[in-house]
Amino acid sequence: MIKIENLHAQVGDTEILKGLSLELNAGEIHAIMGPNGAGKSTLSYALGGRPGYEITAGSVNFDGQDLLELDPHERAAAGIFLGFQYPVEIPGVSNLQFLRESLNSQRKSRGEEPLSGAEFIKLAKEKAGLLKMDMDMLKRAVNVGFSGGEKKRNEMVQMGIIDPKLAILDETDSGLDIDALRVVGSGINAIMRKPEKAVLLITHYQRLLELVKPDFVHVLAGGRIVKTGGPELAVQLEEEGYEAVAA
């Protein structure tokens, strides 16, 4: 589904990704773990096309398309969902309006008919229910006044509504209490654990990986994937630390 080859990315004058290669096939869930400053968030922003994250070498092929040629909103329409570590507040714009406009923009660029108001509300109710989120929160301004956990839950509701092919989830588990983690974990499974979809989970902790079982675990250090294994690698990392495992 996505093939990243020799990706080099820099922010300002600092090179952060230094030749990262990674391939995800449909039906797979991959986890990326790594110490602080390894480049985990940079990878997700580089794939999302965030301004300021300059790709200096390498290629990313997504479903036969050159991903790096696309603008951020075109990447979303192509099927990539970026789950933010720190979801952004947008005062005055309601979640429902934001998501309906987003979804319909994506549909339009794919040549699909827009969803009507009624169709959209039905979809939003279903996905909010799945993540145990109150519909009233969806009527409020995007992430404004939400707790850290509510923001992350809202990211997953958005993912459910948008229904992407590939989800790149940047520390979606951080800031969640145990109950919320369980809800988010089962949300990821329900929405994304499908033969035609793939997930790239960026996380520090093994706990989320007990709920969302990865097929592959990668260690990212110094801007490169330094080790790849199965789920057992996450357990080993948790026990022994990055330094011992990735050395």
Partner: protein, 252 residues
């Protein structure tokens, strides 16, 4: 403003950001201020979404007297003029309320301004002014808000909130509160900010599939909505908001 009066100069504080060159041509054609009197205990409102343009210049000049316990709500849109000015003098009686909501939406080389003089002449009156500006190109948008609290006007509560969003670094926003307070038991709150669209929010919206122009539109729509949130009449609010949206479309 009247043909009999001399043309203002930049030394006149309330004209210091005005486009006097544009004004000069139409100055003799202007009438004096329109007088509005709201009788004691009454409520009145006015919406201005289109300026009366003469030769590219649109001037609205109101002199409002709000009687004891009366209420006057004014909502205005400063758009679509080379030089546009909405000038209001409001004099409040005992326990009266003056509400102003305004949006200034300018681009190109437009100069648009809202200039208010709020006179709290008697005790217990309240006023609230909310102005939102969105400025592109080399436009200048100004709000000058003078609040005058007379010696006997105790328990006055006057508030001003002024925010401007610059879409280009070449645009200019001026926000100038001016308080003259002679009473000692009053509340006068004023806040002013000038900023740009939140880049993080724009990327967040793009990551959900919103094209940049639509993301910007949603954010600006929410930004200027503050100016009209105080309107009770839903259909009047929708009418002025749709005019504002139309003007926003032409900005970028």
């Amino acid at each position: 403003m009247s043909a009999l009066l001399p043309l203002p100069t930049k030394r006149d504080e309330s004209w210091r950001y005005a486009d006097l060159k544009a004004l000069e041509a139409v100055w003799p054609k202007l009438d004096g201020p329109e007088k509005i009197a709201v009788a004691a205990g009454e409520s009145a409102s006015r919406q201005i979404s289109v300026l009366p343009i003469i030769d590219g210049v649109g001037i609205v000049d109101l002199d409002v007297t709000i009687g004891d316990g009366a209420n006057f709500a004014l909502h205005v849109l400063a758009v679509a003029a080379d030089y546009g000015r909405i000038q209001v003098k409001a004099t409040l009686g005992k326990g009266a309320h003056f509400e102003l909501g305004g949006a200034i939406l300018g681009s190109g080389t437009q100069t648009l301004e809202i200039v208010t003089e709020t006179i709290h002449a008697e005790p217990n009156a309240t006023s609230n002014q909310v102005v939102r500006s969105v400025l592109a190109g080399k436009a200048t948008g100004s709000f000058l808000g003078k609040i005058n609290v007379a010696r006997d006007a105790q328990k006055t509560d006057a508030a001003q909130s002024v925010k401007a969003m610059l879409l280009d670094r070449t645009a200019t926003a001026n926000a100038k509160p001016e308080l003259e307070i002679f009473a000692d038991d009053v509340k006068c709150a004023h806040g002013a900010t000038v900023g740009e669209l939140d880049k993080q929010a724009l990327f967040y919206m793009a990551a959900r599939g919103l094209p940049p122009e639509l993301a910007q539109k949603l954010m600006l729509q929410a930004f200027i909505a503050d100016a009209f949130v105080s309107m009770d009449d839903d259909s009047a609010r929708e009418a002025i908001e749709s005019k504002a949206l139309e003007a926003l479309e032409h900005l970028s």
